[in-house]
Amino acid sequence: MLSVLVFLPLVVAGLLLVLPASAAWARWVFVVTTLVEVVLAAVLWADYRSPGPESLAFDQQVDWIPDIGVSYHVGLDGLSLPLVVMTTVVFAACAVFALRDQHRPRTQAALFLALETTCLGLFAAADLVLFFVFFDLSIVGMYLSLHGWGHGERRRSALLFFLYTFLGSLALLLGFVGLYVASDPHTFDMVALAADPPLQGSGTAGALVLAAVLLGLAVKTPTVPFHTWLPPAHTDAPAIGSAVLAAVLLKMGTYGFVRIGMPMLPEAWRAWAVPLIVIGLLSIFWGALVALVQSNFKRMVAYTSVNHMGYVVLAVGAAGVVGGSSAEDRSTAVSGAVTQMVSHGLLTGALFLLAGVMWTRRESYHLAGYGGLARHAPGFAVLLVVAALGSFGLPGLSGFVAELQIFAGSIPVVPAVATGLLGILLMTAVLLRAVQQVLTGPVGALSEAFADVRPHEWLPVAVLLALSIGLGLAPQPFLDVVGPAADTVAELVAR
């Protein structure tokens, strides 16, 4: 079942390329497939029972290269299941949003379906090599999307994206090899490595291996100072490319923290905890401050991602400070990190799709150019306001639940991280300012005769925002899934 969920989009992508489908067909196949994926993911969620430590639900394992302990091993737990579901929802939203796209829709549908397989595969992977395979292929897919469907300086941005994230992925691979070489018996199996972490008590060696892993994940996340590829990539990407990149691909980095770094290298993680907290705080402030001075809407949203991912890094760093903290606090911080990943996926996905609406109308993201848009496009205005409110963490939306947990879990451990709360204040200023510039005031040149959102545009955005509100108002079912897994991670990192 899980493997079907992972590979169905790839199979459909292959068929789309081989069979002579018309553009209209291709678009609908894209929508239907992603909706089927949502249904499959929902069924998995309904079937899901917390698997307990050192095991996975929907576990499936087939030998691949047995000589070195590499296998096709997939499974889910409370860390990965929410991300899998979020991924299917984001892709479905993108498919609907792309229903009117004119530029080579067949190839685009095939590309995004293939990309969906790599994203789902990564979150489902329980083998480091398999994880890496999907990690790397997602880079190729996103590169092609940027290169083929982007605008502006898309080629340069695409190349920068590829080089940067590929460098990160190779650092990651080196880290994985380090884990393999240090494990006894040698294995790449993630369950086995988490159950019996290698490099315990090895001091420098463990710290170096973790450094390689962290570098790889930090580039993908991205955290300051490895974020420079992100703003150009986002600015020049097509709307649905940006949405997938921000909502799903960035999570590959943060997911790696909780899935690989903390459980497999606990001792080294504790040693790296303080630098991680510092990097998290830097990302929070840097992302917010730079976002504040942007005049380009999409660039601004891109920098808010740096800020939001900073909270995740802060949380996982704080969870590594074991002395003087209770397991409960650490678990809360980890749970907050996972919630933030999902919440950010929904909200930033919505924001980037709204940016796409601006681009299809006016081919410009210039904030000041769109004044008084609320008058011409009330539907657009409502969606933008809700997405912005969620993004700076207004209670009632998912961002609040996430940030509350992150700070509730982190501040008892390291009181100094309370300064990070200022980041939320800054973010509020950033988003309110943007909303103000776009929606209120005198009508700008770009706002004249701006057609309001059409069904294929508002529907996906509204669904993403509705999920965010649902998560914000009734987080308990979600937290029931994440909680046990977060407890496990908090326990494992304390070993």
Binding site: D63, W64, I65, P66, D67, I68, V129, F132, V133, D136, L137, V140, L144, H147, G148, R155, A158, L159, F162, L163, F166, L167, L170, A171, L173, L174, V177, G178, Y180, V181
Partner: protein
Amino acid sequence: MDMTADIVAVLPEGILVIGAVACLMLGSWTPRSRQARVRATAAATTVVMLAFAVAGLVREPTTAFSGTVAIDELTGVLRLVVGGSLLVLLLLAGGEVRGHPRESELAVLLLLGGAGVLLLGAATDTAVLVVAFLLASIPLYGMVGLSTDPRAPEAAMKTYLIGALCGILMLLGASVLYGLAGTTAYAGLDALASAPAAGAAAGVALLAVGLMFKAGAVPAHFWVPDATQGTWITTASFLTTVPKLGAVLAVVRLLQALPPDRVWVLLVAAVAAVTMTVGNLAALTQHDVRRLLAWSTISQVGYLLAIAAAVPGSDLALPTLVLFLAGYAATNLGAFAVLATDPGRTEIDDWRGVGRRRPGVVAALAVLLLGLVGTPPTAVFVAKALTLTATWEAGLAWLAVLVAANTVLSLAYYLRWLTACLRRPDVPRTGEDRASTQATRVAVVCAAVAIGLGIGAAPVLGLVG
């Protein structure tokens, strides 16, 4: 061991030589317009050779001719990879040299060169190694010179001069080692442990120079780009693929035979490090796709030598090497086959817009170039991941880091070519777009094999060790 058994043991090599002679005679009696039958004969010979190679693979490992040639799993795998490569090359030659006055000669030289490479990879005696070097090199000089490209004479001359110089140095090295160890057999090289260190080092280094020429590795790599650019694509594919396979195996065998001393490992590791870095740096600035691929093959042999350096220190290294050799051959030949689909496109910019006209060719090219980078799930990816593992295990973690860093470096130029294909052309190309369907098919099959070897890596790894 009696003579018959010896001959049976080296039957695949023998078949290639006999086939070459037969093709030579057949070619001289066949009218120029019907020389395709010579290529067909050569291909048939290769198929027979492959059949015997498979048969040899299931037999127990042995040696032939008083222990001067090892017939083990490594030799067996080399036979399969070289045989497969020869078939690909003969197919490619069909599109390129059909009706050319030297059509049959090319087939003959391919078979002879292949036999030389097999001997190079199997030799366990310095004297045989030198003979194998000559057998593998002389057809190469001729092959490069066959092309009527105005650059071909210079390319052939350069290849020949560097080859001859390296051959002489190699012979000198073999003599020095004979003088120190009192034998040419690898089995007797243990005696070097008690020989003067400087002498032994000089002998081994000089011997290695010849192998570096065949591998196209630093410091004997200068001929590769010129020869690749100045000759037929078929020849270029041969010289950047097949000799490397035998040379790297020869390095492994030499390393295993030398007295266990860290210095030899470090020597190979250093050559590997310099070769991959030089190859990648030089490839970055190339505009001609043939030179770009040539420098890329130099960098690739650096990775291969990195595994060779790990052989004494890691059990994983030999299986990795086998996978890398097979994966590299398929991927590199495929990339050259893409060149052969339209030999007129020599500059990177000439490839603009090809993505729209020939999506199949560019899809294959994407798989192959990303394969050379080491993107999953291709064979070179699995091999490279294992290379990192093996070198790390062998205590060469710095080399693993360097392999990873070089991989990132290489990405820039592979992508440059690939993105050119995806771009819109400035001026639409006029005239008929004549892409060789034969070469397209070869490229697609090679891409499929590259992915297949990656996903089905386990059985290939299981062939040795």
